[in-house]
């Protein structure tokens, strides 16, 4: 019996077997609040003003305000296109990519890599790496909590909340000095119960740009040893902060030298400009190879019901670049160009503000490091920046330095001066 396709709705309803009721299952679903960071770019795009400036999202722009695809990436893609196949990666991702990525974080000749003591899997950029870790922490240390710095990237809170790991905070940013509140930070480390889990930004803290000094990192590491705390590093800006990847991983090196068994989330979104490709890595340093194998197998168990295996394209770009000495050299050069441009913009912004005769101190602009500057602007001042000057940033006063160019730095300085001169 042929069955007619294209059954009409009216026929369904008349047959009496159509709709049980006219109401939706989700009639009571509330509209969710917009993401505070991504919402800024949406508003910017909608603004018709020719003067508008976007210093919201942390994505690199060149001096013309354009997104950049690194030459080393273009070359890698040329080599990858037309390759043999698009087969599934293993659950833990590309082995080559992970190996190269570990070298960046743990050192080119790391004994831990040689001894196979690191459990590592490819992850969906930094977000995915943090989420895998948070889920793993929940499963295997269900009584633990995570100590998160104040402030931090807003999504950190979402990640550990969705993983159902309770959160605590620790002091970090000092609004008065626009620097690190080191004394309070150390107090919090000492007062936390022994064996607590801490989230640390390896370099270029987001959103403040405030990093501990090398000496301060050493003290933090020592106190962590005393307390038996677990250090989880989110490293999203290696190479991007100082221009030198080895230097940017100094905090991690200190902890490793002190014997800590750490965890690291790494991202290639910014330092290789691979944002939308979602390439990253989660690693956990274990006592021995056997433990690393066990931990990796469990990380895979978390990945399998989330996405089965990670995307191959971005991983291939990374392993192509890092596996070829010439391409790797090119990459390091291009990373330094990006970092230097940002450092240059920091200097320019500060100089402009000082030239305008601002009554406030703007030292912090050049003291801070990485993509972001915590300007110290209040939410009300930020609103004025947007409403009067069409300058878009998040309401915590965070400015993405990558959005500043030689073309708009003067305009930006003027606007900041306007809204703060009577502060």
């Amino acid at each position: 019996m042929a069955f007619r396709t294209g059954i009409s709705r009216r026929m369904m309803i008349r047959s009496g077997f159509g709709l049980r009721s006219m109401s939706s299952w989700w009639g009571s679903v509330e509209p969710a609040a917009k993401d505070p960071i991504l919402g800024v770019t949406e508003a910017f795009l909608a603004d018709p003003s020719p003067d508008k400036v976007n210093v919201g999202v942390g994505a690199y722009r060149d001096d013309n305000g354009k997104p950049v695809v690194l030459e080393c990436v273009r070359e890698a893609e040329r080599r990858i296109a037309g390759r043999l196949n698009m087969e599934y990666l293993p659950m833990g991702g590309s082995v080559n990519m992970v190996e190269e990525t570990l070298k960046l974080a743990y050192g080119e000749n790391s004994e831990f890599i040689k001894d196979k003591r690191i459990a590592a899997v490819q992850a969906l950029s930094g977000t995915g790496a943090c989420r895998l870790f948070a889920d793993f922490q929940k499963r295997f240390r269900p009584d633990s909590q995570i100590y998160i710095p104040v402030p931090t990237w807003a999504n950190h809170h979402n990640i550990w909340r969705d993983a159902q790991v309770p959160q605590r905070t620790f002091h970090y940013y000092h609004p008065e000095t626009k620097g690190l509140d080191f004394a309070s930070l150390m107090d919090d480390v000492k007062n936390a119960p022994n064996g607590s889990f801490f989230l640390l930004h390896a370099c270029a803290h987001n959103p403040t740009g405030v990093d501990p000094s090398e000496e301060q990192w050493k003290e933090i590491s020592y106190q962590f040893k005393v307390k038996g705390h677990f250090a989880f590093f989110d490293m999203a800006y290696q190479g991007f902060a100082s221009g030198d990847p080895e230097r940017d991983a100094k905090s991690i090196k200190i902890f490793l030298e002190d014997g800590h068994l750490i965890g690291i989330a790494q991202s290639y979104a910014k330092n290789m400009g691979l944002y939308g490709q979602r390439v990253g890595c989660l690693s956990l340093l274990c006592e021995d190879e056997k433990q690393a194998v066990a931990v990796k197998s469990q990380l895979q168990q978390i990945a399998r019901p989330m996405y089965s295996n990670p995307p191959v394209h971005g991983a291939l770009i990374v392993s192509t670049i890092l596996g070829d000495p010439e391409l790797k050299k090119l990459w390091l050069k291009e990373v330094k160009v990006m970092a230097d441009r940002i450092i240059g913009m920091r200097t320019a912004l500060r100089e402009n503000l000082e030239k305008l005769g601002s009554p406030l101190s703007w030292e912090h602009i050049t003291n801070q490091i990485g993509m972001f500057c915590y300007s110290g602007l209040t939410p009300e001042q930020v609103d004025r920046m947007t409403n009067e000057f069409h300058i878009y940033m998040t309401r915590n006063g965070r400015i993405s330095m990558a959005g500043i160019t030689t073309g708009n730095v003067t305009y930006l300085a003027n606007a900041i001066h306007e809204v703060t001169k009577s502060a």
Binding site: K225, G228, G259, Q277, E287
Partner: protein
């Protein structure tokens, strides 16, 4: 700092300084499906056969990148204006629109009325997980019914998403077909609002699909009981060779004006496996509900991976929106489906030629990438040991892994297993 400071080992931390906080973690068992390939790779025999993972292989036993996909990739590489910026949380807008049209039909009233929200996710797995997380947070009934048997990863996905998993009868070992009565009985007993996982076509692992008449009955039952259908569509176009025919089950449900979810994967039908391209669609009663639902789905995605990978979705969008490329795709897709159908026929003929005991007609009646042979675990183990044939222990074989050259070897193995193994 006092260098002689004594380091206290705390009982509460569970680990002395120097010890790992994860020292108690034990090794997880191999994934049963992916573990098959691991074992296959270790086997040194020159005549080994991998019928484990459902990834398409050519007659030569090689993976296949579709010509149209290569063309799309070249277009992407050669376009210097392309950047690698973050996609929005919901993914590539063009991809989402085109995927919805592919799934529900270009003229679907639900799409025209803007009642469908579609978000890009990480292939089928990711779409199922995001959909399930949304339901666990916003649907009043947190139970999902999955068919017995089903893809091994389904249960884990739903459990981790926060749903409680029950099963409904599906496969009948006696007939090697659908246990339709059992299915209807079990779904009749489901509480109102319960979620029902349905394989849109080419059921994995059995290859047994309801007829259209049976689908209509299932639809009536689900709607009258107020159950919520969640389709897993991983093989659209791959099962029969026709994209529209393979979407009939889903479109039937959407046509009655009711709500449903659909997880779409491009892994098999576009050969984009490792690129992880898929889409989750939620069909709602009204456009307003769809918009609110989308905003909540974004809250699931942001703390999971922030935004989806751009590459694979860009390839799909190019192909779907370009008429010539779309047509070329349908031709290549049909060729893959036809080759599999031909393998089914060849295997069936080979077993008949050997006089292998039993009724093997299910091989040609079942549809899609897999055949549920009906072989038991002992027979499977025998085939692996004696004939180096690798498959999952439930007797599922991936027809895509067969070729005209290897069919005789498999037929020999099955024949031996059935006549000699206990």
């Amino acid at each position: 700092m006092d260098p002689n400071h004594m380091i206290s080992a705390s009982a509460t931390s569970g680990s002395d300084f120097g010890g790992s906080v994860f020292a108690h973690v034990v090794q997880a068992p191999e994934d049963p499906i992916l573990g098959v390939t691991v074992a296959y790779n270790k086997d040194p025999s020159p005549v080994k056969l991998n019928l484990g993972v459902g990834a398409y292989r050519t007659e030569e036993g090689k993976p296949l990148v579709l010509n149209v996909v290569r063309r799309a990739e070249q277009l992407l590489v050669n376009d210097r204006s392309r950047v690698k910026e973050y996609l929005p949380i919901v993914g590539l807008a063009e991809f989402n629109k085109l995927s919805a049209k592919l799934m529900f039909g270009a003229d679907s009233p639900a799409i025209q009325e803007r009642r469908v929200t579609t978000v890009q996710c990480l292939s089928g797995t990711g779409s199922l997980r995001v959909g399930a997380e949304f339901l666990a947070r916003h649907h009043h009934q947190r139970t999902i019914y999955i068919p017995q048997p089903t893809w091994g990863n389904h249960g884990k996905i739903f459990t981790l998403a926060g749903l409680s998993v029950k099963t409904y009868r599906y496969y009948d070992p006696a007939t090697r077909g659908l246990n339709f009565q059992g299915l209807l009985e079990d779904l009749s007993l489901a509480p109102s609002g319960a979620i029902v996982l349905l394989h849109a076509c080419a059921h994995n692992p059995t290859g047994v699909d309801p007829t259209l008449q049976q689908w209509e009955q299932i639809r009536q039952l689900i709607r009258s009981k107020g159950l919520l259908p969640f389709f897993d569509s991983a093989y659209q176009g791959f099962a029969s060779g026709s994209l529209d025919a393979d979407a009939q089950s889903v479109r039937m449900f959407v046509a009655d004006g009711g709500e449903c979810l659909a997880a779409q994967s491009y892994a098999k039908n576009m050969g984009l496996y490792g690129e992880r391209v898929g889409a989750l669609s939620i069909v709602c009663k009204t456009a307003d509900v769809a918009s609110r639902v989308e905003s909540q789905v974004k809250l699931v995605i942001r703390p999971m991976f922030s935004n989806p990978p751009i590459h694979g979705a860009s390839i799909v969008a190019i192909i779907l929106k370009n008429r010539d490329m779309y047509n070329e795709w349908t031709v290549e897709l049909k060729a893959m489906a036809d080759r599999i159908i031909s393998m089914r026929q060849q295997l069936f003929d080979a077993l008949r030629a050997r006089g292998t005991p039993g009724d093997w007609s299910h091989i040609i009646k079942q549809i899609g990438m897999f055949t549920f042979t009906g072989l038991n675990t002992a027979q499977v183990a025998f085939m692996t040991k004696e004939y180096h044939v690798y498959m999952t222990s439930d007797g599922r074989i991936s027809m895509a892994g067969l070729s005209s050259k290897t069919v005789p070897h498999l037929a020999d193995a099955i024949h031996a297993a059935v006549t000699r193994a206990i």
